[in-house]
């Protein structure tokens, strides 16, 4: 299992540790929230000491940073609480300082945390994807807009949306006296950190300020309640759909099977087409013309862990690596 189910975990219960990974400047401390043990992808609460100074630099994997308290500043700009960065791999950031200290959430999505001093972008960097926004000052709350939806009183600000996977990062709040009497699960992994406030879920009890979870797909959560309000940061790794139900005892396997049955009911043509083109034991992974050439569908099936065999119950063959081509077009 790449990341175990970490829920609930309260980071206030543990101390900050010095960041000792090579490349990171002195004065950075962290609390590990969860980590993918295969790739090193990590979610952390980080604290920069008063006077922290970081030279211009980049990371090998994309990095998300959300400032919770204090501020960071470059020569040109001050980044105050609510500021969210999504920095693609290889995109260099200017020198940053934390004159009075700063506490933030930091996420590396596909590899271990890294920092390489550099005053220019890596040749593979895609700077046009760099996102910097102040969620507190520059954005408005909206309803969740996923259907079926959460009850009124749960509002979001979408900070980043991946148009291919529909993974997204969002700020959310629950208003005082929020309640929602259903049990939910999703096809995606979901992660959240409570910036402020306590909310309650029927399975896990209260999640207070500093509370965190990394929840793999198909795990029941809810009913929900929040007495005094909550502000939190959430993330998913693909599309979030609310599979609501009222069976407290269903297992992830049962939930996954139900999700598959529901997909057949919603998109019967597509479901049957995928099944027919792949067969039961060797599912076809369709190509997306928008991302043409980003990999052999069979290899993608491997990358996504789609279980299959080759009719003999074994699957021990190797795949030749094909040269990658850039996709033909990009839609913004």
């Amino acid at each position: 299992m790449a990341r175990p189910h970490i829920e609930p975990f309260v980071d206030r219960d543990v101390s900050f540790k010095k960041m000792t990974l090579p490349g990171f400047p002195k004065g950075m401390h962290y609390k590990m929230l969860s980590m993918d043990t295969d790739t090193g992808a990590s979610s952390m609460t980080v604290m920069y000491e008063n006077g922290y100074a970081q030279p211009p630099g980049m990371s090998y994997a994309d990095m998300e940073l959300f400032i919770m308290s204090g501020y960071l500043e470059s020569d040109e700009k001050r980044y105050t609480p609510g500021t969210y960065f999504w920095v693609p791999p290889g995109v260099h950031m200017p020198a940053l300082r934390a004159p009075r200290g700063c506490v933030a959430l930091m996420f590396y999505n596909y590899a271990e945390p890294s920092f390489v001093e550099s005053d220019s972008d890596h040749q593979l960097a895609e700077r046009d994807h760099l996102t910097i926004v102040n969620a507190y000052e520059d954005m408005h709350w909206t309803s969740t807009n996923f259907f079926p939806a959460t009850a009124s009183g749960c509002l979001v600000k979408v900070l980043r949306f991946d148009q291919r996977t529909q993974a997204f990062t969002f700020l959310y709040c629950m208003t005082p006296n929020f309640w929602q009497d259903n049990i939910s699960y999703h096809d995606c992994a979901e992660e959240a950190y409570h910036i402020w406030g306590t909310s309650w879920m029927m399975q896990f009890g209260n999640l207070p300020t500093g509370g965190y979870f990394w929840r793999p797909p198909y795990i029941n959560h809810g009913a929900f309640a929040c007495k005094l309000g909550t502000l939190a940061l959430g993330r998913t790794d693909s599309q979030l759909y609310n599979h609501f139900h009222f069976n407290p005892w269903s297992t992830p396997e049962e939930n996954r099977e139900r999700a598959g049955a529901r997909m057949l009911a919603w998109k019967p043509e597509l479901y049957r087409w995928i099944e027919q083109h792949g067969g039961h034991n060797h599912p076809h992974v369709p190509n997306d013309f928008e991302y043409d050439g980003q990999g052999d569908p069979h290899a993608i099936a491997h990358a996504h862990g789609v279980p299959h065999d080759h009719g003999d119950g074994h699957h021990d063959h190797e795949h030749e690596e094909k040269p990658k081509r850039r996709r033909r077009s990009r839609t913004k």
Partner: protein, 85 residues
């Protein structure tokens, strides 16, 4: 979109990852034990939920509620009730 730029993972980084993975394993065990201890409370929360969805209603979508008939209420299976997987 490039997800990761290929790079060499040093021995020092590997050691850091190993240590963090071991700590996470302990964290997970602690969570499982804490959640196990919460079972009596959770059973009460579940009973209350099943009562509320019959009297006030189940949130089908947003604030749309449906009162669930008693015949539709699921029965607790004999297997162990797990919430952390």
């Amino acid at each position: 979109m490039v997800k990761v730029i290929e790079h060499k993972v040093s021995r020092e980084v590997k050691a850091w990852l190993k240590k963090e993975a071991a700590e996470q394993k302990e964290r997970y065990k602690k969570i499982v034990a804490e959640q196990e201890a919460l079972s009596p409370k959770r059973d009460k929360w579940v009973a209350d939920f099943l009562e509320r969805i019959q009297s006030r209603g189940f949130n089908v979508h947003a604030d749309m509620l449906r009162k669930i008939p008693a015949a539709e209420i699921p029965k607790k299976p004999r297997r162990k009730f797990k919430v952390v997987f």
